[in-house]
Amino acid sequence: MDLLANLAGGMAQAATPENLMYCFLGVTLGTFIGVLPGLGAMIGIALLLPVTYYLDPASAIIMLAGIYYGGEYGGSIASILINVPGTPSSAVTGIDGHAMTRNGRAAAALFMTAIASFVGGSVGIILLSAFSPVIAAFALTFKSADYFAVMLLGLIASASVARGSVVKGIVAMIAGVLIGTIGTDVSTGAQRFTMGVPELVTGLSLVVLAMGIFGFSEIAVSAGSNLPRAKSQAIRMRDMMPEKGEARRSVGPIARGASLGSLLGSLPGAGPTLSAFLAYSFEKAINRRGKDFGTGVVEGVVSPESANNAAAQTAFIPTLTLGIPGTATMALILGALMIHGLPPGPRLMTDHSDLFWAVIASFWIGNVFLLILNIPLVTIWVRLLRIPYRFLFPSITCFICIGVYSVSLNPVEIFIVLAVGLLGYAMRLTGFSAAPLLMGFILGPLMEEYLRRALLLSRGDFGVFIESPISATCLAIAAVMIAWPILRGGLRNLRRRREG
């Protein structure tokens, strides 16, 4: 079979000692950062982005992706033990997971979480390897107008599911697009928004933006808040075994979580967080023990965990096959591909198929590493939860500074990071989420390019966006996404007025 041959080839490339090491480094750092509340996979990827300049593209993506799905595993540890999600997607795991900890069953919860994560992740990987070639083949028929429309849909979807108001999400996305236009315009050579600063002529780099908006502001916010710390709770291997019947009862929730997560993960904007929330509420509604959810039942732990890990894997489908990331983290991975000179889009699979399959194969390897890291070695992570933040935050600050400096060897970039970071901090305070901004920053320049090409081919006729069925559908969905919350708000007001 083609698929198996491809996977075998990928496995051979991913299993070189060097790539194994990068994969291991990635998932370890991902778990580390995932475990610590207040730090997410974003900051981990941003921190390692400068280092990946020195790696070959496959190793770079293998490592960065490892941070991402490793963070999903790690996030649930903090959720279960101290009821503070290490990553947003594991927030709902804490409902029943922490209840299990209160019942003295933390070890069993951690064990079942690791198993559910592994199964969910594996299902996601299988779907990813099965569907990617099909979708990429379909995407090869896309024209410039279609790309523009799909990207616009992706951006609007990411803005709509962001925390807080949709309007603020869209404003953040537009701000990102505008920041993305800073620098020299590729086709006319005109300087845009450079204000005479020579460092801005080449535009803001992804490293600078990601480090500022996620690195600086996350540290400034977290260092000020008193995050709860883990109480010492002994996790012993022999307490890990689930009770009789628990394993059997988990099969259904894990399978349903994985299916739901795989589906949602591949959609633009959805991602692991939404998948985990939906899987939990779905399971609560249909499970026979649904009314006990919240009191520490294992079904409530495994279903969101299986869902978010499945979603973390299928999120790579649109990113790698269409070049359209569904979430900000995926946008960062896409940005890393572009740093290495790999053009995003369906041609990635045909022109760089060895890289594609090596990355996919590394996901399997990474998930096995994570299973080892999370079951026999879980006590290490529990101990890590007790590192004082007064050691952690200055260390991250130094790594951000040296990382930024290492890319350009220009100290001015440190001050640009600070400026971007202060913007990110202000956005956090006022309820604008940073994820749509990053998406806009990465997709904006690509969108402009496709818009330009589409209009060039149609000789300036905007009709092309409606004539193409793919583009028309995407634009229609995007319009509904914007109109729906406004309509719903209007209806609610109307009803309130009628009642009051």
Binding site: V171, A220, G224, P394, C398, I402, P411, G421, L451
Partner: protein, 113 residues
């Protein structure tokens, strides 16, 4: 399609939505107050500024130690001795990764060596 086309239309929509948010905020004054944690904001910013100012004239080690001390002060429980030890540890680690392994020409000691 000129260089200004794309940013112009995006900025126009952005400005319009910004106006919507502003009117909304003025019509319904928010009850929630924004709380800024000045201590952490100032010291984390200072750590960045210090690194940017020191890296070229004073080199990696001084810059890292200085910015670690400042960064640690964002937390109330910081102790100077601890921060200095941490700073030297970080400087050593960063020197190994970026100078020894990656071979970057970053000034390590004062005087650009």
């Amino acid at each position: 399609m000129g260089a200004g086309f794309f940013p112009f239309w995006f900025a126009l929509v952005g400005a319009a939505l910004g106006a919507v948010i502003c009117t909304g905020a003025v019509m319904r004054p928010a009850e929630a107050r924004v709380s800024i944690h000045w201590r952490s904001l100032i010291f984390v910013s200072a750590a960045f500024v210090m690194f940017g100012l020191l890296i070229e004239p004073a080199g990696l080690i001084v810059a890292i130690v200085a910015s670690t001390i400042l960064g640690a002060m964002a937390d109330r429980g910081a102790r100077l001795v601890e921060s200095v030890i941490l700073g030297f540890g970080l400087a050593a680690g960063i020197w190994v990764i970026f100078v020894v392994l990656l071979g970057l020409s970053i000034p390590v000691l004062p005087g650009g060596r």
